[in-house]
């Protein structure tokens, strides 16, 4: 048998292309592996309960309908226990050993500060569920996309509510003496002053302080028309409400989403002390005057009711989990690839992407994708099915 030069070239080309073809075929069949890093156990685990329900539900939906271009989603969960060291180990594990295609989590800012540079070095598409402003930097971390509001957006929501809806001019700003609280206090005081409001009293308070009457008295004597509170401590928030009642002071309290946590309901001396308290919330997870959520979310709640509990968590945590899986699966579906660059490139093109939690828009220069106007204020004592009534004054 004679071998022509042309046949030899063809055979050589086919031989060279074979590994790529095999790789491509294997990639088309392999599952889409999603690293899901969260605080499943420990004192900071309550948000993860909600996030995880959303993640599992969304994965079931995608896989139940045949997957993404025939590829199933495989979630690889790791418990970080709220510990940045464990979060770093988990991140390295899912990137290096599990070979995930994208990561959702960790879900608190302290862990994210430690893991974000590691994910950036691996160019790992990652969805960031943390509020600290410095977590997002498209130059340093082109792979990281924030799918929650930033701290600044929370602050904007509170300030806009105080200034434009409550029409107050004098505010008191308090925060707990944690790393988060101190930073939120400084940012908030600066932004309120910049907006022309008078900060008549501000303090960082030890969350273990047994009585906050002195701080409330100082704020009252200074003429505060609203108390802005940045604390995740249910005890401190409840003490503020009890002290407000003891002082016969009818001042509204506005601030951190933790003002609506169910623990506060157990700690206030009387249920009515929780009135006139407004927390940061989300339009997508707020009941309007008709008692209904926006249609997509109402449909979602109606469809999952009875399948998993909603009352013991926040609807937005569940919604965020759903959105994370949908964002990853849609990127793979639309680009036909689970390559990092393809996923990152696709996310960079999203404009007003309609998620359950909110609308997301990303560009190569802006990875704070959450729409600011989706962040609103809610009535803190109105939680049902994980959602809250809109605070008065919104249309």
């Amino acid at each position: 048998m004679s071998l022509t030069r042309r046949a030899l070239v063809r055979a050589s080309a086919a031989t060279l292309a074979l590994p790529a073809i095999i790789r491509s075929a294997r990639a088309a069949a392999e599952p889409i592996r999603v690293g899901w890093l969260a605080t499943f156990t420990g004192p900071l685990s309550s948000p993860t309960i909600g996030f995880d329900r959303g993640v599992k539900w969304a994965v079931e939906q995608v896989n139940g309908s045949g997957g993404v271009n025939g590829r199933m989603i495989e979630v690889i969960s790791r418990d970080t226990q709220g510990d940045p060291t464990k979060a770093v180990n988990a991140t390295q594990d899912v990137i290096s050993r599990q070979k995930v295609h994208a990561i959702f989590g960790p879900v608190n800012s302290g862990e994210l500060l430690a893991t974000t540079p590691i994910m950036a070095r691996a160019r790992m598409p990652s969805l960031v569920a943390g509020v600290v402003n410095s977590l997002i930097d498209p130059v340093k971390y082109p792979n990281a996309f924030r799918v929650t509001p930033s701290n600044a957006q929370w602050d904007d929501a509170v300030r806009n509510y105080c200034q434009n809806i409550m029409k107050v001019k004098k505010v008191a700003i308090t925060a707990d003496a944690t790393g988060y609280g101190t930073s939120a206090h400084d940012d908030s005081v600066a932004s309120f002053k910049k907006a022309g409001l008078e900060v008549v009293y501000d303090a960082v308070i030890d969350p273990a302080q047994p009585d906050v009457t002195p701080d409330m008295l100082r704020a009252k004597n200074a003429g505060a028309e609203v108390m802005v509170s940045w604390t995740v401590s249910a005890g401190m928030a409840a003490r503020m409400m009890n002290a407000r009642a003891a002082l016969n002071w009818d001042v509204p309290i506005a601030g951190h989403p933790a003002l609506g946590t169910g623990e506060i309901g157990k700690l206030v001396d009387k249920p009515e002390y929780w009135e006139k308290v407004y927390q940061v919330g989300y339009r997508s997870c707020s009941y309007g005057p008709d008692g209904k959520l926006p249609k997509p979310n109402q449909d979602f709640v109606d469809s999952v009711k009875g399948k998993f509990p909603l009352a013991d968590t926040s609807l937005w945590w569940i919604a965020s989990g759903v959105d994370a899986i949908r964002l990853i699966s849609e990127a793979v579906a639309k680009t036909g690839s689970s390559d990092s660059d393809k996923i990152i490139g696709y996310w960079n093109t999203l404009q007003m992407w309609p998620g359950l939690y909110g609308h997301y828009s990303f560009t190569p220069q802006e990875h704070n994708g959450f729409l600011g106007s989706d962040v609103v204020m809610s009535k803190a004592n109105t939680q049902r099915d994980g959602a809250f009534d809109l605070a008065p004054g919104y249309v």
């Binding site: 004192p43 273990a208 047994p210 009585d211 701080d215 008295l217 005890g235 700690l267």
Partner: protein, 286 residues
């Protein structure tokens, strides 16, 4: 305004004072500074809320069981964290053993109870949150009752005098035939009950929270240092002064700055009177 500051200051101060007394009782019996004192206060609040709120017991049985539970913790402290290190007091191993046991109590509470503050039951229903609310005067009443009770115990009963005897000189007390070990165990049980009373009486203010132990450990030690080690009356005056000063500093300066001010004053007092305001300078045989 002044009434609010005084009410909260005396309430918090009385709680600190009772923790100081807890330190003193344990120290008198063993010469050991047991850093479980604050945890006993925390346990008083948590057990009170457990028995009354969660298990639905009436207040009086709940109160007695909470104090009994704390007395038991005091007893276990003596057996586990104090007795093994008594022979090496000069090496101060008790600092490590009692701190380790305190950490175990705190961690166990966090796991089994909650890491979030839980409500403490309303005990008598007196007051509407103002300065005359029960949450402000109950710790003061508990503190006064404890001091009177301890004075009566130490001065009017044989057991009390035996406590004083081992506190004064445990070698001599043993030579006289006093059961030193049993008396020390009884002292730790008594300290447990007093610490538990601090947490129970201050529960409406402090809430049933696993992290209260560390705070009480810290601020409960200040009255001991101010009042003089082993001096209960000094601890009460030191505790009340600390509470009122702390609240006044909170009002005048606000926030964490007030905490710094408290410790600046504390250090100045100790520089001026190292033995405490009411303690006598220790004599050393030469």
């Amino acid at each position: 305004m002044l009434a609010a500051i005084l009410a909260a200051g005396f309430a918090v101060g009385a709680t600190y004072a009772l923790i100081g007394v807890t330190y003193n009782i344990m120290f008198s019996a063993s010469r050991v500074m047991s850093f479980t004192a604050g945890q006993l206060g925390m346990a008083g609040g948590v057990l009170g809320a457990l028995f009354i709120n969660r298990l639905g017991l009436p207040i009086l049985p709940g109160f007695i069981l909470a104090l009994a539970g704390c007395a038991l913790i005091g007893l276990v402290t003596e057996i586990v964290a104090v007795r093994p290190v008594l022979k090496a007091l000069d090496q101060h191993l008790y600092v490590l053993s009692t701190l380790a046991f305190a950490l175990m109590i705190q961690t166990f509470t966090a796991i089994e109870w909650s890491t979030e503050p839980q409500p403490f039951p309303r005990l008598l229903g007196i007051g509407e949150g103002g300065p005359l609310d029960e949450k402000f005067w109950l710790p003061v009443v508990a503190c006064a009752a404890t001091i009177i009770g301890l004075e009566l115990l130490y001065r009017r009963t044989l057991v009390g005098r035996a406590f004083l005897a081992i506190a004064e000189d445990n070698f001599a007390a043993r030579a006289l035939g006093l059961p030193e070990r049993n008396l020390r165990m009884a002292s730790f049980a008594l300290a447990g009950a007093v610490g538990g009373l601090a947490g129970f009486a201050g529960g409406e203010l402090l809430l049933a929270f696993f992290a209260n132990g560390a705070t009480l450990n810290f601020f409960g030690f200040v009255p001991v240092a101010l009042g003089g080690l082993g001096n209960n009356r000094g601890a009460v005056i030191g505790g009340l002064a600390l509470g009122v000063f702390q609240q006044a500093a909170n009002f005048l300066m606000g926030g964490v700055v007030a905490g710094v001010a408290v410790f600046v004053v504390f250090i100045i007092v100790l520089l001026v009177a190292p033995q405490g305001l009411f303690g006598a300078p220790a004599a050393r045989r030469v």
